[in-house]
Point group: C2
Chain length 341, copies 2
């Protein structure tokens, strides 16, 4: 025996809310039209490129439709999702760690690059070039378990402030890019970080800040070793580089971690060129974008001459030739950083 | 002006279906009680361990509740999710590739281990030990692009048959474990493969067979190199081992790819011991299980004496000491393989 359907107004309201949620989840045209998914972007070619790409790849009737499982988008971190000037935050982290560890290392007083660092002479400390840099990294990033390092990073991120912007690093992220991440995910894309930065330096905060979980972070890494410590199984961080996730190694890292060619890739420097090439090399719809730091007033302006996040003239020529979209921070972004209210 | 709600019977039916789907998606107690999530499991300690673990970790009121983001479950592949006897399928793949490639390698007629392999003398071919094995792997797994290799694996998987079971390898998977994978995912767990097998040998079919996408597969790997080939960006597979994902390296691979300690881990051999230890080493609810192949009639029976998937007496002692659950294929599983209807 079937019961007659009885619907009261309360049930109806619930049903309508549920339907609205479903519509949002499915990214229906009605729901999308209702509000701008990219409110911090000025109307222009960059915003159009993103919206057109998402529409074309998610509309089942479109010749450029991409099945949900293949909707992989990769993002560089430094200079693409957050501020990288005047210095990589991870380098500032290393300097702070040298200071914190100095009492346990009396020998550093007479040993470069530490002696100069502790005197505050960064230029002299880095006179040793790559070797000096490597010594600083090894002294500050190895010799502890992965879980101890995670806690050290969490503590640092919670207290450190950007030297110029005077706010936590996790608030030096680009609001327009947070919107792109959320917009892509709302349309079934899986978002990954693919950065030259340390994978374990990013994982402790990427989920909270970007909505990107640790398993979707690709980066440079140290070798680790499994061992029992006081009867507890841990991974020890060894003073040995495992992988540098930059330039031609970015596609290698993408393949190792993701196993699919991205359909969208975002970067901001010469280190991202191969990632964008690799994304473009697949069949079907593709979106390649480069953030150009041309806004000295609201952030920083730098390009071919920069030591960090170099955007060379050759990269600009490549972008023009290959049809990659260059995002002008100055003209494409209404706001740079999230509102602090 | 508000419009009056009008609901006809067709709309109501749609709404009810949607509500039912939502309830299923959320894994509501009502929906779960309605049907057994593990129908191929006999009632016993192994089935209870799984169900109790899932209930305790997903019930918000439970002291063992685990937030959705931390619900990471890792599975060995050979012998845990699919059949590994009488030989690893990847080794049979390599043998088939040697035969297929022989016409392009006339020099193999006089070169071991290929000469013996081509004569069908497996024992003589493998007399060279690890070195012979490595030569076979390099000759069959390197020298092509990642996308070419993916296609080679897809073709092989589509046509090869298990020598004893006479069915495709992708149908030599364990039905009870397919149910565990689906049950965990329905309860918000993210399922990963962590196997000594080749990462690129598994990825082409794990999504279809297990519902595990490429980015959630961890395995052994070859080094790759980014390059332009006929103007197209590709990754070339080099004849050089990058990572062997076995024993103490499984926690290393888990950390590198996932960046979290699993709360549940499933294996079947000595190669999985460290993965289970590592999972158990975290705080809160944990589930560690080992498949024991004790069913000569329906599959294979092997243990301490085996060369493949060794389940040593030491491992059994460790399981007993540490409270890991040993799954008896013979008594815990109603069915071994998926029905072929």
């Amino acid at each position: 025996m079937k019961r007659k359907p009885v619907i009261n107004i309360r049930m109806f309201n619930t049903i309508v809310s549920v339907a609205a949620l479903l519509a949002l989840g499915a990214g229906s045209t009605t729901a999308q039209a209702a509000r701008d998914p990219l409110p911090s972007w000025n109307d222009g070619p960059a915003k159009h490129a993103i919206v057109d790409f998402v529409r074309a790849t998610t509309d089942k009737g479109s010749p450029k439709f991409v099945p949900a499982a293949e909707r992989i988008a990769t993002f560089d971190n430094d200079g693409t999702l957050w501020c990288e000037q005047p210095m990589y935050s991870q380098f500032l982290f290393a300097l702070d760690r040298v200071k914190a560890l100095a009492p346990q290392h009396p020998e550093w007083k007479d040993k470069e690059p530490f002696a100069s660092l502790l005197k505050g002479d960064l230029k002299e400390a880095l006179a040793g070039g790559d070797r000096a840099m490597l010594e600083i990294v090894m002294a500050t990033h190895a010799g502890m378990t992965t879980e101890e390092f995670e806690q050290i990073v969490k503590n640092w991120v919670a207290t450190a402030r950007h030297p110029k912007l005077k706010r936590p690093y996790t608030e030096c992220v680009y609001q327009p890019m947070l919107e792109v991440l959320a917009y892509l995910r709302a349309n079934g894309f899986k978002t990954f970080i693919v950065s030259g930065g340390g994978i374990e330096f990013m994982r402790p905060w990427t989920e909270k800040v970007y909505g990107i979980p640790p398993e979707q972070v690709v980066g440079s890494s140290m070798k680790t070793q499994y061992e029992m410590r006081d009867g507890k199984p841990v991974l020890l961080r060894l003073p040995e580089v495992d992988f540098i996730d930059d330039k031609a190694s970015k596609p290698v890292g993408i393949n190792e971690h993701i196993g699919r060619r991205p359909v969208a890739a975002f970067g901001n420097s010469d280190g991202d060129q191969q990632m964008l090439e690799y994304a473009q090399g697949g069949a079907g719809a593709r979106l390649m974008m480069l953030v150009h730091h041309d806004d000295a007033l609201r952030e920083f302006a730098y390009g071919a001459e920069s030591k960090i996040g170099t955007f060379s003239d050759a990269l600009m020529a490549e972008a023009n030739k290959s049809g990659w979209t260059v995002i002008s921070m100055k003209s494409d972004w209404k706001h740079i950083f999230p509102s602090r209210e």
